[in-house]
Symmetry: C2
């Protein structure tokens, strides 16, 4: 929790996510991660999450930083920027309520892939790796469901990203493709 | 099991993976999926897998086909080909013992992303979605561990693939000059 506190100390902590579970449940139709969750499962999951508030303009996470948590946007809007080879931030995505961010670092503990900035007043539910591990031990079926959804989400993103990469490589016949993810 | 049999009926079935668990365990140092598994966990996992043999030249899985299983190469070597925009198969990877293939279709049930051809006599351990679901219910901690490893593996591939995609986009000549920083 010390690390999470350090990386989120610039945000206002609104407490654990239990009292937000009706709002989180209302996100299900637009939330890939929760699409197969029941209201009871969302309530159970909310026990393991914390909610933070970020005013417009807040840099929520920064490319290259540590941080072993993922975020679910409960309200608001976030821009995702990644630095290009000239170190200039480029907008790579705009995400709104129901979307999740930072799953890769929660899982692999590696540096943040991109920077996320609130472009509206934003409310975020946070799940860190320690609480993910607690879910797996204390609520193994909920843990398995959450992990299955993460695997599914990453798998679909990997298909889309690999497809786009191969399309671009096709356009550059002089380029050796090297290894891209398997089937 | 009917679907798995249909998609693997061209391979010789060597039985369940239990008697191969010493060989599978020996793969751990080169197997991302199993890197944190103990011998006891490998033995447990092997109960849920089947082993097949594919002679040199066998097309093990085919791009675009259905098939809800993943493969672990126990022995041999496999080439991975994906059709480009001109429908010509392009070699995108060569994988050997310890590597896994087909995780995305096991998880999301979508069509195979690429074709895999044995370039040596190959022995494969197969895990299908039905058995993954059985592991989660019957051995929830083993299931959670397997899913965590899958999430980790996909996450690292997604980082690598996204990084390469963004590098290629950076190199695109049609980029707006405004996006390139001045002196």
């Amino acid at each position: 929790m010390a690390e999470q506190a350090a990386h989120l100390s610039h945000l206002e902590h609104l407490g654990d996510a239990t009292k937000f579970s009706p709002q989180i449940h209302a996100l299900i139709p637009k939330c890939d991660l929760l699409e197969n969750f029941s209201p009871a499962e969302v309530r159970l999951l909310a026990h393991f999450m914390d909610v933070y508030q970020a005013p417009l303009g807040t840099e929520i996470i920064r490319e290259g930083d540590g941080g072993d948590f993922m975020l679910m946007l409960v309200e608001g809007k976030v821009e995702v920027h990644k630095r290009d080879r000239w170190n200039t931030p480029q907008l790579i995505a705009v995400v709104d309520a129901g979307k999740t961010l930072g799953e890769m670092s929660m899982i692999d503990g590696e540096a943040r892939f991109a920077t996320c900035v609130a472009t509206e007043a934003t409310v975020l539910a946070v799940l860190d790796r320690e609480n993910l591990a607690r879910i797996i031990v204390e609520q193994p079926l909920l843990g398995a469901k959450l992990l299955m959804e993460l695997v599914l989400m990453l798998s679909q993103r990997l298909r889309a990203t690999s497809g786009r990469l191969l399309d671009l490589i096709d356009e550059q016949p002089q380029r050796l493709p090297g290894n891209v993810p398997g089937p």
